[in-house]
C-alpha cells in the first residue's frame, strides 16, 4: 500500500464505504429547492453535483413575448432579495439604448433604494447563516432589523420584497414624505446594532472554528469561475460593478470596496459585514442631498429599442447581475439573456467543498449566499 503522509489521506486509506446521497431539494439549509448530489466517503465529501431546475420558470423565454416594461416584474422574481437592483438593470438598459437621461432625483432615489436592498439582503443572509451554524438567536435579531427596512420600502414602493418600483424613465411614484426621515432614523439605529452582530456571531469561538480555513477559494479560481459579489471579493477579486462601471448616483459617492485575501468562509462573511457599514456610509452621503425634480420622464407608450445588442450590468447583493438584450426593433426583445450571479457562485461549490466534512458544506453554501430562483430562472 502507498505510504500516506497527511491525516486526511490516512482516513481515506481505511476502507470506508462510498455512498451517494441527495441533499435537498427539501433541505432546510439549502434555502430553497436546490438538490445537491453528494458522493461521500464516510463523512468526507468527494463530489458535489448540483442539480438545478426545480423552480425553472423559463423567465428568459417568457421575456421574449412581453414588452420591455412588462419584463421588469419578472426580473423581480429572480433574486427576490435584490429585486430593486434587478429592476434597475432592465431600466438602465432601456434608458441607455434610447439615450434617455433620467432626472438626478431618480438616480439618487434608485441608489438609496439599492443600498437599502443590499442592507436588507445582507441582514437576512446574516441571520440565515447564523442559523445554519446552529445559532438561532441571530435569526431573530437579523429579521428584527430587516423589518425596519421593509417598512420603509412598504411606505414608498408599496410592497415589501418584490417591488417593481423602477420603470423605464424613472420610478413608479415619488417617495413618501417620511422617507428621508425614516432612513436617517434607521441608519442611526443600525449603527448601534451592528456591533452587536459582531459580539453575537463574529467573535464566537464555535463560529470561528467552523468558518476559518473552510472552503478556500483562490483568486484565480474566483476569476475563472466568474464568482462575483461578496463571495468573489472574499478571495481578493476586485469585482464591484459600482466601482468598475458606476451607474445611477454611484459616481457621486465615496465608498470603499472591501477586499479580503484569504478566500475562506470567514473572509466571505467579513466582506458582507463590512459591506453593511459601507452601505450605511453611502446612504448617509445621499439621503440629505436628494435633488428636487420629477420622479420620471415621459416615455412613449410603446417602447421599441433600436436594432442591436445591449448589455447592462449592476451590482446586486450577491454579485454582478447582467441583462443582455438582442433587439430586432420590435416592442418585444428578440433575446433576453440574464447573467445571474448565483449560478456562477453555485458552480464553484464542488471545487471548494471537496475533501471537507459534510457539516462544512452547510457553512460553505451559507457563505456563498445562494438564492435558488436566481439560479433556475
Amino acid at each position: 500500500m502507498e505510504q500516506t503522509t497527511t491525516k486526511r489521506e490516512d482516513i481515506s486509506s481505511i476502507d470506508y464505504q462510498e455512498f451517494v446521497i441527495n441533499m435537498g431539494p427539501q433541505h432546510p439549509s439549502t434555502h430553497g429547492v436546490l438538490r445537491l448530489m453528494l458522493k461521500l466517503k464516510g463523512e468526507i465529501v468527494e463530489v458535489v453535483q448540483p442539480h438545478c431546475g426545480y423552480i425553472h420558470r423559463g423567465i428568459e423565454k417568457m421575456c421574449e413575448h412581453i414588452t420591455y416594461p412588462q419584463t421588469i416584474h419578472l426580473t423581480d422574481r429572480l433574486d427576490y432579495l435584490s429585486a430593486h437592483m434587478n429592476n434597475e438593470a432592465v431600466c438602465l438598459l432601456v434608458e441607455n439604448a434610447l439615450q434617455i437621461e433620467v432626472p438626478e432625483r431618480v438616480k439618487y432615489i434608485r441608489t438609496i433604494l439599492d443600498e437599502l436592498t443590499r442592507l436588507a439582503s445582507h441582514q437576512l443572509w446574516w441571520c440565515a447563516f447564523g442559523m445554519d451554524m446552529g445559532a438561532l438567536t441571530t435569526f431573530f435579531y437579523g429579521l428584527r432589523d430587516r423589518e425596519k427596512i421593509l417598512d420603509i420600502f412598504e411606505k414608498t414602493t408599496g410592497s415589501r420584497l418584490i417591488q417593481s418600483f423602477n420603470v423605464p424613465g424613472g420610478l413608479m411614484n415619488d417617495i413618501h414624505k417620511d422617507f428621508q426621515k425614516e432612513v436617517k432614523e434607521f441608519i442611526k439605529y443600525f449603527r448601534k446594532i451592528l456591533p452587536e452582530y459582531d459580539q453575537l456571531l463574529t467573535g464566537n469561538v464555535i463560529f470561528q472554528q467552523r468558518t476559518k480555513d473552510i472552503g478556500i477559494l483562490t483568486k484565480e479560481d474566483a476569476i475563472n469561475f466568474g464568482v462575483t459579489g461578496p463571495s468573489g471579493r472574499g478571495s481578493g477579486f476586485s469585482c464591484d460593478v459600482r466601482k468598475i462601471a458606476p451607474y445611477s448616483a454611484y459616481p457621486y459617492v465615496k465608498f470603499e470596496e472591501k477586499l479580503q485575501t484569504k478566500g475562506d468562509t470567514f473572509s466571505r462573511y467579513m466582506v458582507r459585514m463590512h459591506e453593511m457599514w459601507e452601505s450605511m456610509n453611502i446612504l448617509e452621503q445621499l439621503i440629505d442631498n436628494i435633488p428636487e425634480g420629477t420622479h420620471a420622464v415621459k416615455m412613449k407608450p410603446i417602447i421599441k429599442l433600436p436594432e442591436g445588442e445591449y448589455y447592462q450590468r449592476v451590482e446586486a447583493s450577491r454579485g454582478e447581475f447582467g441583462v443582455h438584450v438582442i433587439s430586432d426593433g420590435n416592442k418585444t426583445p428578440y433575446r433576453f439573456k440574464l447573467r445571474s450571479p448565483n449560478f456562477m457562485n453555485l458552480s464553484v461549490m464542488h471545487h471548494i467543498s471537496r475533501n471537507h466534512k459534510i457539516a462544512d458544506l452547510i457553512a460553505i453554501s451559507g457563505s456563498l449566499d445562494l438564492v435558488i430562483p436566481d439560479i433556475d430562472r
Binding site: P69, Q70, H73, G158, S164, V167, Q199, V205, P301
Partner: protein, 158 residues
C-alpha cells in the same frame, strides 16, 4: 503548549459570554420588543397610500367611475389578470357608443406590478389598501371592479 490550550479555552468562554451579554441585555429590556399583536390591532392597522393591496376602481358618491373601457390596462397587464367586456349603449344624442360592461380583475393571478394603474389614460384604477385576501373559494378572487349600475363620470375623455 498547555498555556496556549488554556488561553484558547478562556478566550472561547469569553467570546461566548460576550454573546450571552447581548441576549441577556435584551431579556431585561422589554421595551425593545417590536412584535405586533396582529388580529387584535386590526382597527388601527392602516396601510399607506402607495400600498399594493389590490387593484380597485374608485367610484364617487353618484356611483360613477372614470373607466372608458379603452382596454389599455388589459393590453399592458403581463399575465392576463384583467379582462374588459364592453357593450354598446345608445347615448343621449342617439349615437351608439362603446362603454364598459364588466372590468374583470383576477386577484389570484395579479403580480402587483402596477402597470395597469400607471398606464390607464383616465386614472380610473388605483391601489386598494386591503391586505386580508384569504378566502375559502378561489372564484371569490375574481372580481368585477365597476360597481353594479355605475356609469362613466362626465368629462372623462374617450
Amino acid at each position: 503548549m498547555i498555556k496556549e490550550y488554556f488561553k484558547d479555552v478562556f478566550s472561547g468562554i469569553a467570546s461566548l459570554l460576550r454573546g450571552m451579554k447581548v441576549t441577556l441585555s435584551y431579556f431585561v429590556r422589554p421595551s425593545t420588543i417590536i412584535t405586533q399583536k396582529y388580529p387584535e390591532n386590526r382597527a388601527e392597522l392602516k396601510m399607506f397610500e402607495a400600498f399594493r393591496g389590490e387593484v380597485v376602481m374608485p367610484h364617487n358618491e353618484n356611483n360613477e367611475h372614470k373607466c372608458t373601457g379603452c382596454g389599455i390596462c388589459e393590453i399592458n397587464c403581463p399575465n392576463g389578470s384583467i379582462e374588459i367586456i364592453s357593450k354598446f349603449e345608445v347615448g343621449e344624442d342617439g349615437k351608439k357608443r362603446k362603454v364598459i360592461d364588466q372590468h374583470i380583475y383576477r386577484l389570484a393571478m395579479c403580480t402587483f406590478c402596477g402597470l395597469c394603474i400607471k398606464t390607464c389614460p383616465s386614472n380610473a384604477l388605483a391601489w386598494g389598501q386591503e391586505f386580508e385576501h384569504a378566502v375559502f373559494d378561489r372564484t371569490k378572487l375574481t372580481k368585477v371592479l365597476n360597481q353594479e349600475g355605475s356609469t362613466v363620470q362626465k368629462g372623462v375623455k374617450e
